[in-house]
Amino acid sequence: MKALARREFLEKSLKTGGAFGIATSGFTGQRSEAGEAVMPATDGASEVAVTLRINGKDHQLRLDPRTTLLDCIRETVALTGTRKGCDHGQCGACTVHVNGRRVLSCLNLALMHDGNEITTIEGLGTPEALHPMQAAFFACDAYQCGYCTSGQIMSAVALMKEPCGPDDAAVKELMSGNICRCGAYANIVAAIQQVRQRA
C-alpha cells in the first residue's frame, strides 16, 4: 500500500472533516493558548456567509467572524501550503497575495476579503510547471526545513513588482518580514537575485 504523504493525509483529513474533527463548513472554534484548534463553543448562529476568490476559484463559505484569512485558507478551504508560524504578524510564514500585493493572512479577517483576488502558493505554479521563483528556490537550495518557504516565495514574487534597489542589501531589507529559523537567508537572497537578473 502506498504510504500517504503528510500533506495528502492532512488534506484528506480536512476535506472529510476526519482526523481532527474539524467541520468543513468553517472553523468556528477558538484557539487555545498553545495555538491548537479547540472545538466550537458556538452553535454556528453567528456565522456569516462570504464568497472568497482564491487562486481563481470562488468558495462560498459560512464563517465565524473571528476566522482569520489564514485559518480560512488552511482549515476551511484546505489549502495547506500557507503556513501558520507565529500567528501575530512577526514571522511572514502566512504571506499570501491579495489583489497582487503581499499581505499577512494571520492579521486579516477572512470576512474582509469578499470580492478580493487571493493567491496562495498553490496558485503560483504546479509541480510540473514551477513558477520561476519556485524553480530558483529549488536551484539555489533556498530552504532547509521548508516551513517558511511558501511565505518566502510569496513575498519574493511580490517583491518583483515593488520598488527595490539592485543590490543584495535592498532585497534583504524588503524580505525582512519573512523569518527563516534555519537561516537559509543567503540562498534565499541568491534565488531572488537569480530571478531578478533573468527578468
Partner: protein, 333 residues
Amino acid sequence: MHNFEFIRPPDLATTITAAAQSKTAQQGADVRFMAGGTTLIDLMKLNVETPARVIDINRLPLDKIEATSDGGLKIGATVRNSDLAHHPTVRRDYSALSQAILDGASAQIRNMATIAGNLLQRTRCVYFRDTAMPCNKREPGTGCPAITGSNRTLAILGTSEHCIATNPSDMCVAMAALEATIHVQGPKSSRAVPFGEFHLLPGNTPQRETVLEPGDLVMHVTLPPPVAGSRQVYLKLRDRASYEFALASAAVVITVSGGKVTRARVALGGVGTKPWRSPEAEAVLTGRPANDANFRKAAEAALRDAKPQSENGFKIELAKRCLTHALRTALTS
C-alpha cells in the same frame, strides 16, 4: 479571541452612528473600526482588545492621496502605508515621511496598515500586551509593573508614575515634524486637530491615548505645503537593521541660509509616550550657525527633561546622538 459582530455599513454616516454607540473610543472600546487589522487583530488575539462589534471601514471612500488647494497634501485615512511612502509627491516633498514609513514594520505590514491605523498604533510594552500582568493602560488602577520590571525599550520622555509605555510609530514622528493636521468626523461635527494635540500624555489616565471620542472617525491627514529649501531626514536606531521598533529616532526638517538655521522642526521617536516634538531643540537651533556644536546643544535641550528607568538610561545619550547625527545628515544631504 472573543466573539464579535462584524459589520460593513454602506456609508460614512451609518459608520459613524454605529461607532457612536461605543462607551469609549479608547482602550477597551466595545465598538472598533477595522482597517488594516495589523494592530487590532493582533491585540484581539491576545484579548487585550475585546470589541463586541467590529466595523470594517475598508470600503469607505477614504483611500485617496490628493493635492490641496494651498499646495499641501491630503492623505485619506485608509491609504496604505506603502502607497503613501512610494507616492511621488511624498518622496519628493516629504521625504522624511517616506523614509519613516519605509523604516517601519515589514513590506507585508506596510501593504496592509493604513495611515489612520498608524496614527492609532498601540504600544509594544510587554505588560500591556499580556493580560496576565497588571497594566494601568489596559486595566486602570492595577499598577505599572514596567517601572520596576522590563523597561529597556520603554519611554524616557512624557512618562508618569502610572505609565511609561513608548509610542512605537515611525510615521507619527515624521508627521509631528512636518506639522500635519488630523481631520476627524464625529457624530455631530467635524474638527481639525493639530498633530501635537492628537496624542495625550499618560498622566493618571494612561488608558486615554488620543482625543478621539465615540463615533469619531479619522477621515484624512493633511500636510502643509513643503517649505522651500528645507532639508529633511528621518533617522532610526534599533537593535537590528530591519523589522524592529526604534530605540531612538529623529525626524528633522531644517532650513539653512547663510550658514544659519532659519527654521527647524524636530521630533523624536522611540523615547516618548507620544510622538515627541521638541520645541526646545527647535528654539536652540533657530537663528544659530548650523554646526555640530549647536546640533549637540539642541539635542541636550531635547533630552533635558528625560527620566531614565532602571534599564533604559542608555536611551538618553542614544537619542542625543541620533538627533545630532540626523541634523548633520540633513545639512550635508
